[in-house]
Amino acid sequence: MVSLEFKRDRLIFRHGTSKYEWIIEPRYWRNPIIATLILSCIPALMYGYPNVLTMLTFANIYAAVAIMMGLQTIGTARVNFGPQLYVGLGGYVASIFNLYFGLSPALTFILTILVSVAVALAISPIVLIARGLYFALITLLLPLIFLQITFIYAHIFGGEFGLSGMSPLIDLGRASWNYVTYCYLSLILMLIYLLIADKIMRSRFGISMAAINDNETAAEVLGVPVRNYKLFSYIFPSVCMAIVGWFIAHTFRTFSGVTYLSFFFLIKLLLIIIIGGRATLYGAVAGAYFIAVVEEFLRAFGPIHYVIFPILLIALVYMLPEGVWGIYHKRHYRDYYPKLRVRR
């Protein structure tokens, strides 16, 4: 039994005993399904434009990292200024094991997870010890130290040129098909991250994480096991970021620390988060697409985006401190909306 009914302001779709409603009034159109459909149509329409497809793939990769950075920010109540560390770590682990030991992408995936869990566990005590400025400084320096290591041991990490020639995830035999496939794979990766992060934030654990973000001491006195929450929300997003590095290494088949470990990659991530609205998950997707498009547009003018992006960052922090999401939030203030604070 399937029936479709139009009733005043909504379309009602019935199937057996289940009923689905679709409210027609545009202000209720914030259904993530619409956005997902649009995002998944674009790569198919752009078949034959490899530039655009690469841009979209990068947009999805930026979004995946930014979503996890947002989750990390809320759960640890601290801004991690070095999320690229784990992207670089994942990329290099995947590349090295694939190139030097000949392991398949599936095996490097497992190794990436293991290594990044170990590294994140080793670094995680900084979440408990350091606060505010000190935490920012430590996390800012870690990826730069790793970048220096890749220069020093250039015979392993490939130095400035990085490593190339890793085995691809999927090879369909034609370059134009591969571009579309990778674009879809990156989209799936990003959507999975979005789903996971959203599920966590809307669950009972999410509300405790939000409490830690708002007031750590008060949360602890109310019975929230702050230490466990902070460790989980440092390690889990870190591992997810490392998986993004693995994905980059096996899709673009080249990986260099100069691109992903440098300060400039961080600036792009910060811009995405500021445009999207601090630590919001859906805002990160909008911000990532915006930045990827702007980057592609500025490519024609040479390396000017190295200057423009930092200036844009400063301007946005001043003019639109709550991002695009802040405009939405003014109307929907009941949704939990975390703020990034640098605490003493």
Binding site: N215, A219, V221, L222, G223, Y337, K339
Partner: protein
């Protein structure tokens, strides 16, 4: 119920709590008074585990609290309110209480919806149900204090530590707050340790008073004895009046 023996805490050279011992038995309302800087709030921080004492032991129902982290102490049944309200400013009043409901003992499988239902009961108890969807940063001082009380009650405490609820409230509001605390004590079968500056209120509400001065306990007893105690008058008003 709560037993402090020879508790000492110092910050650098300053001895904030010096060899303090006292006991609170079940069902009591104990007042804790003292001039500014006497160490009242430090004592509350010590009991809730935010600070760890240098010496001495704090026992609650026979369990040693000094080794426990704050969230374990909360689950043992000790809740507190703050002198300066510490809400979660970007969350609604209801969500503030939900955090407390979800993280208390034996709530491993409670769903968010159930927690909201239960949290709304505590909000209604303190008279804030109407404000459940207001962000905590938009609440007035009285409402914040009531929100803190609701949050503390939602952890199902056996012992409630109240840190200067009356500071900054006008007379009508403070009377309402005192009534609320008395009602909560009856309703939830609480034991209360109450830090207060307003003598009139604490003398009428508490059954026993403990006086701190420069980190030392100088007097303990029923209110009528305390108000005549020479040491206490000296600590508050100076030697001339003693």
């Amino acid at each position: 119920m709560l037993k402090l023996s020879n508790v000492t805490k110092s910050f650098g050279g300053l001895i904030a709590i010096n060899n303090v011992s006292f006991e609170i038995s079940k069902g009591e309302t104990v007042g804790l008074i003292g001039p500014n800087g006497a160490g009242k709030t430090t004592l509350i921080h010590l009991i809730t585990g935010v600070y760890k004492p240098d010496l001495g032991s704090i026992k609650f129902n026979g369990k040693e609290l000094t080794k426990m982290p704050p969230h374990r102490i909360c689950r043992e049944g000790i809740a507190r309110t703050y002198q300066i309200p510490q809400p979660f400013p970007d969350m609604t009043a209801l969500n503030n209480v939900v955090v407390a409901v979800l993280n208390r003992k034996n709530r491993k499988n409670m769903s968010l919806a159930d927690a909201e239902l239960e949290a709304s009961y505590f909000l209604e108890f303190v008279g804030l149900f109407r404000k459940r969807n207001t962000l905590a940063r938009d609440l007035s001082l009285y409402e914040l204090r009531m929100l803190e009380l609701a949050r503390a009650l939602a952890t199902e405490p056996k012992l409630l530590l109240i840190d200067e609820t009356m500071a900054g409230l006008n007379p009508v509001e403070s009377l309402r707050a005192v009534d609320m605390i008395k009602m909560a004590k009856e309703h939830f079968d609480l034991t209360i340790l109450w830090v207060e500056h307003v003598m009139k209120i604490i003398m009428s509400a508490a059954e026993r008073i403990i006086v701190l001065h420069y980190g030392k306990k100088i007097a303990e007893g029923p209110p009528e004895h305390i108000s005549k105690d020479e040491k206490v008058i000296e600590a508050y008003l100076g030697e001339k009046y003693a």
